[in-house]
Symmetry: C2
Subunit: 434 residues, 2 copies
């Protein structure tokens, strides 16, 4: 096989075979196929697309480029959860211990933030002492003891995806449904779980702005899961406004704690609960949504869910006292408010702009490996639909860098729109694909 012939076929819009895709992916991962050929093929895929079969073969090839976790010695049903990323999306940090408290096991490998969306690992690392780089043996130990563990991506799972992703990032080949789908699913399938629940974000603050594209991505990923024999379900959820009231790192941990105490913002509570129920039903742990909902309510009311979070933090070397005393989390030295310039109804808190403002404040990074300010972020005081008077605080910006507050102010200010009439509020869950 010659790489140039495969590139030419894809360039001309023809599908590649399973063997060809496997050969190319293996070559790209080992370096036998040089990067300049890989990036040419990636661009041809972006512009010519892939059939559902090709997308699955690509997923499969990346999955087979590395290890697949063997969790068979751990008891019970194991479930993966993944979000395509949004602003204020701290769902996993509350959901994983909640689902564990409901009786399923949630092994989770997460990433760091890049651009305007945050990363679960960055958020957890705002907890003093939290170690995300556990070995597989340590990971399984935490899973056995607590029922959930959230670690950073390891080099041995889907290494081909790691290689391709690094190349896509610098060659403008990120935006491609088959490439996104296979990248996510190769990693999720490598987690070796019985079921996968996906949260495909759609809207201004998400990677997918368009609901048709979000549905297509969801279908592609559910298809790949089904072909591998892993029950997979996707919710398509709105990401037009930040999720909950906290955007950043430490502030999102604090919000997760409040949620597991039963006092979280309604939108976040509703989404976490819906995802938990689907994890319980999809994996077969619960018969139906009603049974799942009852179990979720009990896990929160009993304090069991919060306790799982506390124990997970402790097992990862983190300070578990943050759960009872959030002042132990990093706290920003400087704050500044964005106030309403007129009375009326908040019609929009643009997730994209809030995300960029939070990154400007230090909560995110634009280059891989850049350090972040765990205390920085934005608190959303007024959500879409809220009535405000002129001068009311609508956003509060937090940072350790006073100059960053001024840089972020125009972005934050532009994120909030106020009008005379209350807006029509879209539902948070737009659709689901099974």
């Amino acid at each position: 096989m010659r790489a140039v012939d495969l590139i030419a076929r894809k360039r001309d819009g023809h599908p590649l075979s399973r063997d060809e895709i496997r050969w190319f992916v293996a070559g790209a991962a080992t370096g036998a196929v040089p990067d300049y050929q890989t990036s040419a093929l990636l661009m041809a895929v972006v512009l010519r697309g892939m059939t559902p079969e090709e997308t699955f073969w690509l997923t499969e090839a990346m999955l087979h480029s590395g290890d697949r976790l063997d969790l068979s010695d751990l008891p019970g049903l194991k479930i993966s959860k993944h979000s395509t990323g949004g602003v204020g999306d701290k769902v996993s940090i509350a959901l994983a211990p909640l689902a564990a408290a409901c009786g399923v096991m949630v092994p989770k490998l997460s990433g760091r933030g890049l651009g305007h969306t945050g990363g679960t690992i960055d958020k957890l690392e705002s907890i003093p002492g939290y170690r995300a780089d556990l070995s597989v043996a340590e990971f399984k130990e935490v899973l056995r003891a607590v029922g959930t563990s959230i670690i950073s991506q390891t080099a041995t799972l889907a290494p081909a995806d790691k290689k391709l992703y690094a190349l896509r990032d610098v060659t403008a080949t990120v935006e491609s449904l088959p490439l996104i789908s296979s990248s996510i699913m190769s990693k999720k399938l490598a987690e070796g779980t019985d079921a996968i629940v996906l949260d495909v974000k759609c809207g201004d603050g998400a990677f997918m702005k368009d609901s048709a594209l979000a549905r297509a991505l969801a279908s592609s990923m559910v298809d790949a899961g089904a072909r591998m024999g892993v029950r997979t379900e996707a919710l398509i959820t709105s990401m037009d406004a930040p999720l909950g009231r906290a955007v950043g790192n430490a502030v999102e941990i604090e919000e997760c704690v409040r949620l597991l105490q039963g006092a979280g913002p309604p939108d976040l509570m509703s989404l976490v609960s819906r995802l938990a129920v689907r994890m319980l039903v999809t994996s077969g742990a619960c018969r139906d949504d009603a049974e799942g909902e009852a179990r979720v309510r009990t896990a929160i009311a009993s304090g069991e869910a919060l306790d799982r979070l506390r124990r997970m933090i402790a097992r990862h070397g983190g300070d578990p006292r943050v759960v009872d005393d959030p002042s132990r989390l990093p706290c920003a030295a400087h704050r500044a408010a964005i106030v309403a310039d007129r009375p009326g109804y908040v019609t929009r808190v643009g997730a994209g702009l809030v995300g960029r403002a939070a990154a400007t404040l230090g909560a995110g990074r634009t280059i891989v490996g850049e350090p972040i300010d765990h205390a920085a972020g934005i608190l959303v005081a007024a959500r879409p639909g809220d009535r405000v008077s002129a001068g009311d605080v609508v956003l509060e910006m937090l940072s350790n860098d006073p100059a960053a507050l001024e840089l972020a102010r125009p972005l934050a200010r532009a994120a909030v729109l106020i009008a005379d009439e209350p807006p029509a509020l879209p539902s948070l869950v737009l659709d689901s694909v099974r």
Copy 2:
């Protein structure tokens, strides 16, 4: 400027600016832009195209990546000629001395063959002793003395094109009108001549199979020449059958000699003469075609054209006696004939198959740098329109490798079609663009 942003814009079908193209080309040539980004952009260009302005800016950027020959100290009008390549296309080797004999100067930088089409330099190197790698000073000395000199591409002219071409070859990004046009024209414009005459081959044995594409390429190249203030003209000529009767290296030199002796095959004579006339008229050396034709006839009849070839060979260290005694050229040890399997009219001698058969015999190469057999090739005994009897020789294969004769036989046999009715013969010159 960031390469990834430029790639993204081209991926999305937007034009790049002159500065952006210049920045990218300079970066690609120096390595400041890594190959994997360059190849991603090349694939985006293949699939998204370029506007005429972008194509010119790309040409200009590649031209400016290196030196432009300064021929201003040489007397008279200088003219470049270029063919996009065909099977049996030895035109330059006869045309350059012919035009020089008519009073214009023809500095020519040529390439080696790859795939099924031959290279002018390979053909010249079949002459014992011929050196194609003259320095610029030696090149100009030959030009001053003889009026023409044919050397191989130098590293200092359009080095960015050299870099991009090497990458295109291995990333399936050769087939793109703006990339082909800019590659050719950056090198031609670097020759620093007063006018450029292009022979755009179209048909089965050419790179461009389709006449609309050939016309578009011709227009693009003429446009780039005009924008640079260099009078440029293109003929679009048929490449469905091999040009002349010889396909190979030494055999093509011998055919050029015969042509300049006034005894060449009519199709080749007609094309060489037409191109010579257009070189004389386009450059302003002759008033009109009639004057040009008269001068061409005289240059051949007087022996002046042949003498220029003899002197050019001698100045390049080659054995000039090959002009009077072709047996001094390499001669193949083995021969085999393809005969007509039925009586009738030859309707087709497929240039593509003949080219592939000749390469199989050793006359061409599939990998850059591979050695070739200068004696190998094919003699076309029966041309389209010829009447043959069963058993008549239609093609004669030459090689120093007896096994190659058997490998090439099915290709050569498939190239020739014979039918009851004589074919409609297309004209050799299909169109011209000025």
